[in-house]
Amino acid sequence: MKNQVWIFLLLGCVLAVSGCATDSLTASPVGSTEPLAVEDQATLISALEGSGATVEIGEPVSQVFFSAEGTVLKVNGADVQVFEYESAEEMENEASQVSPDGGSIGTSMVTWVDVPHFYKTNRIIVLYVGNDASVLDVLESALGPQFAGR
């Protein structure tokens, strides 16, 4: 009986410690800066620059498989296409047409010049065709993991 009490006490301590440990992992450290919420092209540029990337606004770009006109951003020198929609619903509707591997969008099939990476958040779809690790890192930092591509 006495042994059982000790076991329960020990178990309680372990749980309490692990709970504290979990809390300490999830809590934001004092003084840390929250990542900027990306809603559109302007906030994307701020977020990318905040990650240390160089960003220049380039030429307009249009794709037959997206209804929104796009803009090329030169991110660390690489072309990144940004398509901004009127609403998040409109963006989601078009993003849902992209196949998981990025090989087809609705009734269009694409042979890419390089590896395609599709990201989305709020009102924008971002397309990067390439494999530069520094570009992928800042895009993922600003937008989260890609939702389609290879």
Partner: protein, 265 residues
Amino acid sequence: LKANPYEENLVMRTQKARFVLVLAVIIMLAAFPFSAGADHAWGNYHWARTSNPATITVIDSMTTDWDDNLDTAISDWSKSSVLDIVEEAGASDANTRSRCRAVKGKVRSCNYTYGNNGWLGLAQIWVRGSHITQGTAKMNDTYFSSPAYDETARQHVVCQEIGHDWGLGHQDESGADLNTCMDYADALDNPSPNAHDYAQLETIYSHLDNSTTIGAAPAGFENANVHAQENWGTKVHEAANGRSAIFERDFGNGFKIFTFVVWAE
């Protein structure tokens, strides 16, 4: 040495188990034979047609430096037992190639400097339900003008883009090189379809439809005068009370105009 009866029994049981296993494998192979079967259809999109082989026309809106590539791709795809691909000369001025306007019942193939948009080739289909009604295949000269893309790469891409227009998807999405122009590999080193592609086409086109989306509509169909009753065709149904009827005018190849009429008293 005299064998142990227990060991003898064990050996016999093991042999019997092996025999059953081999038999099971033989039955499995007979039921599911290895074949050129494939599963890379693009959804269930296909051209509606009433007989096989179906003849699909590709309009050549490409500059002369691409003509050989298109000719070869058309010749390759025509080896299919269910499709016969024919070429039709089309306009190849810059405006036509830039727009690459789709034509009902046909596929148009174009090349142009479509810009730094990330794609080398782009196939598009227009569909009604699961039936393809028209298609385009575009090759992007903005990239192909680079010496990085050799003749094999050009052939790979034109073969793939018009291949999509028959309702084929990529053979595999892993990026593996599968020795077909319909793979999704980074290397563009396969200028032709392979047996799996032809097998997939046979699967896609194994059934027949009641109508066709291939080619232009029959003469007189699009603007048929159906104002007068004599142009309604044959009466195929009449209500029991004689108040209404359905007439059918058949233009062939599944092109029909139905007229539903309710008679005035």
